[in-house]
């Protein structure tokens, strides 16, 4: 029986650094379980002869030659950064006090 538990949703939320309230966890756990259940029905239809698909196009080996193309300037690269310092992206503290 596929599905997702409330604990699993809480775990995923933590991995994605999403702060969910208890009632949100209840709400999303129910919804996600429904969605997974719906998607799981695909595997009831697909037989052994149908290979899993990760890409809708029947393409392989799309490669580019190892040739340099222009990059953005540092100013352009940093233009969307909420904060910057020393021409670098500035991010909040990564590890809290331990």
């Amino acid at each position: 029986m596929p599905g997702i538990t409330r604990e699993e949703v809480a775990h995923l939320a933590r991995l994605a650094r999403l702060e969910l309230k208890d009632e949100e966890l209840d709400h999303f756990a129910g919804q996600l379980d429904d969605i997974i259940g719906a998607v799981a029905r695909v595997s009831e239809v697909a037989g052994q002869d149908v290979p899993p698909t990760s890409h809708p196009l029947p393409l392989t080996n799309v490669m580019r030659p190892d040739e340099v193309r222009p990059s953005l300037t540092p100013e352009q690269a940093l233009s969307g950064a909420p904060a910057q310092e020393q021409q670098r992206f500035k991010v909040p503290q990564i590890l809290g006090e331990e």
């Binding site: 775990h11 995923l12 991995l15 994605a16 650094r17 990760s54 890409h55 196009l57 393409l59 392989t60 080996n61 799309v62 490669m63 580019r64 030659p65 190892d66 040739e67 340099v68 193309r69 990059s71 953005l72 300037t73 540092p74 690269a77 940093l78 969307g80 310092e85 020393q86 021409q87 670098r88 992206f89 500035k90 991010v91 909040p92 503290q93 990564i94 590890l95 006090e97 331990e98």
Partner: protein, 502 residues
């Protein structure tokens, strides 16, 4: 800071068998990144080599670097791996700002190369086969600078700064199968494996594999099992061990640490550990179980890589002679022992000696100069042998001057000294310093006569049959000619003049 308990190495090995796994990341030397056309030039100013793709901006799409795939296949083939006929990339999701996409494009259950081996030779010549689990393609992360903490550490930092120039540079991760049965030689095997892998990568021309530049990085996974049992213990993963010596030290330290924990009834915690170059110890990092939830899934923005068998065979046919095979061939050609060859390898002299013999010197003199005078100088100056300001061609020229009798060894050393001091090529140094063997028989004869006259007692001994005493007179003549005489010829002249058979 707590002191880590250690058990003496011999005691640890008497009670336990070590099991190792080595993960090596190699940064490829491609001109561009793995999934976009940004340059990979070292030393660029911060964030000058980024684009919407490697910054993970919405709407951008990656396309894989053909040379990156080719390099991965070459490495796989050189490691005797099977090359996948179809494989995909996968997203490795994690929450850390060194990847602006919030995932690393990697490969998960479909590596491009798998099931191989690498034979490594230990210092005494014993060959140990290390089995390879897989080699897969992925990308490097950006560079973080932590601000506000002690000595740039992430702990205690107020905030961090990110330079994404390195984010997206192609990496090949090479993972061994568990290495069992190496016993007390496990640390030595680890070092020899990484050394051999580095030689291999360099020979393939896919990376310079300079560990001090971070172009090759090693994680050492280690566990112990009580002797006589076969179930692996819990492992620790020591990250970013970045020199050959450190690989050996890290393995040794972990063996001693694990043994101390286990023999006192404790349990090994599965965790990543940091290696400290200064004292060779490791300290705990994050607990692994929390971090390992990467939620891999197939990368929908990249299509599968399906290398044709023709391409794979073409690359196989173009592989260079493998380093160990080449070293053994050269060892036989040069007529040196395993131990001498190991010393030559450790000194970084193999290619220099080859280049010197290519320039016309015989192997014995090429080896003599590089492993003698020049190795000594490199050691004194604290530089790599290849970084000395003398070329193999110049060394070959010195050897040629010795061979034709223009220089003796003492003068040759002065010529080399002159070349290293920037006085020009060997012939210029000979000319400028006036370093020529005195071959004027008249002048040499006079010097010999004077030496005999000044050392009558020794001369008598020689006349009386003590030929060995001639050395003292040879020394006197060499001194008088300031070393510029051919010692063998001087000895001949002395014996001749004293009427003694040599």
């Amino acid at each position: 800071m707590t002191v880590t308990d250690l058990v003496p190495y011999e005691d640890a090995l008497a009670a336990y068998d070590p099991v190792m796994g080595l993960e090596v990341h190699v940064e490829l030397g491609t001109k561009t990144k793995m999934f976009c056309g940004c340059a990979t030039t070292l030393g660029a100013e911060p964030n000058a080599q980024t684009c919407p793709t490697c910054l993970g901006l919405p709407g951008s799409l990656p396309v894989v670097n053909a040379t990156g795939v080719e390099s991965a296949i070459k490495i796989g083939l050189a490691l005797n791996c099977t090359i996948a006929d179809w494989c995909r990339f996968a997203r490795k999701n994690y929450f850390y700002p060194d990847m602006p996409k919030n995932f690393q494009t990697s490969q998960y259950d479909e590596p491009i190369a798998f099931d191989g081996y690498l034979d490594v030779q230990l210092e005494d010549g014993e060959v140990f086969r290390v089995h390879i689990e897989r080699a897969h393609m992925e990308e490097d992360t950006g560079k973080s600078t932590h601000i506000g903490g002690a000595t740039g550490r992430i702990h205690g930092a107020r905030h961090s700064l990110l330079d994404y120039n390195r984010a997206g540079i192609p990496l090949i991760e090479i993972v061994t199968k568990p290495i069992v049965g190496a016993g007390e030689r496990a640390p030595e095997v680890a070092k020899a494996y990484v050394a051999e892998l580095r030689e291999l990568i360099k020979a393939l021309g896919v990376s310079e594999a300079r560990m001090e530049m971070g172009q090759m990085r090693c994680d050492v996974n280690l566990s112990l099992m009580p002797k006589g049992t076969e179930e692996f213990g819990t492992r620790s993963e020591t990250k970013n061990v970045n020199s050959l010596r450190s690989v050996e030290r890290a393995a040794r330290f972990e063996i001693q640490r694990h043994a101390a924990v286990l023999s006192s009834g404790g349990k090994i915690v599965q965790e990543t550990r940091h290696f400290h170059e200064d004292d060779g110890s490791t300290t705990p990092g994050r607990i692994k179980e929390e971090a390992e939830d990467y939620r891999y899934f197939p990368e929908p923005d990249l299509v599968p890589v399906a290398p044709s068998r023709e391409w794979v065979e073409e690359l196989r046919a173009g592989l260079p002679e493998l380093p160990r095979v080449r070293r053994n061939r050269l060892r036989e050609e040069w007529g040196v022992s395993e131990l001498d060859m190991q010393a030559i390898l450790n000194a970084g002299a193999v290619d220099l000696i080859v280049a010197t013999t290519d320039a016309g010197a015989d192997a014995a003199s090429a080896r003599k100069w590089w492993m003698g005078e020049l190795a000594r100088r490199a050691n004194e100056d604290g530089v790599e042998l290849g970084a000395l300001p003398i070329t193999p061609e110049q060394v070959a020229r010195v050897a040629a001057l010795v061979a034709d009798g223009s220089l003796n060894d003492k003068l040759a050393r002065q010529v080399i000294e002159g070349v290293l001091a920037g006085e020009g090529d060997p012939d210029t140094v000979v000319e400028k310093r006036g370093l020529k063997v005195v071959s004027d028989e008249g002048a040499l004869g006079t010097a010999v006569d004077e030496a005999i006259a000044a050392n009558a007692a020794i001369a008598d001994k020689i006349r009386g049959g003590k030929v060995a005493a001639a050395g003292a007179l040879v020394g006197a003549v060499m001194k008088a000619t300031r070393g510029q005489a051919d010692a063998a010829r001087v000895r001949e002249l002395i014996l001749e003049k004293l009427g003694v058979e040599g």
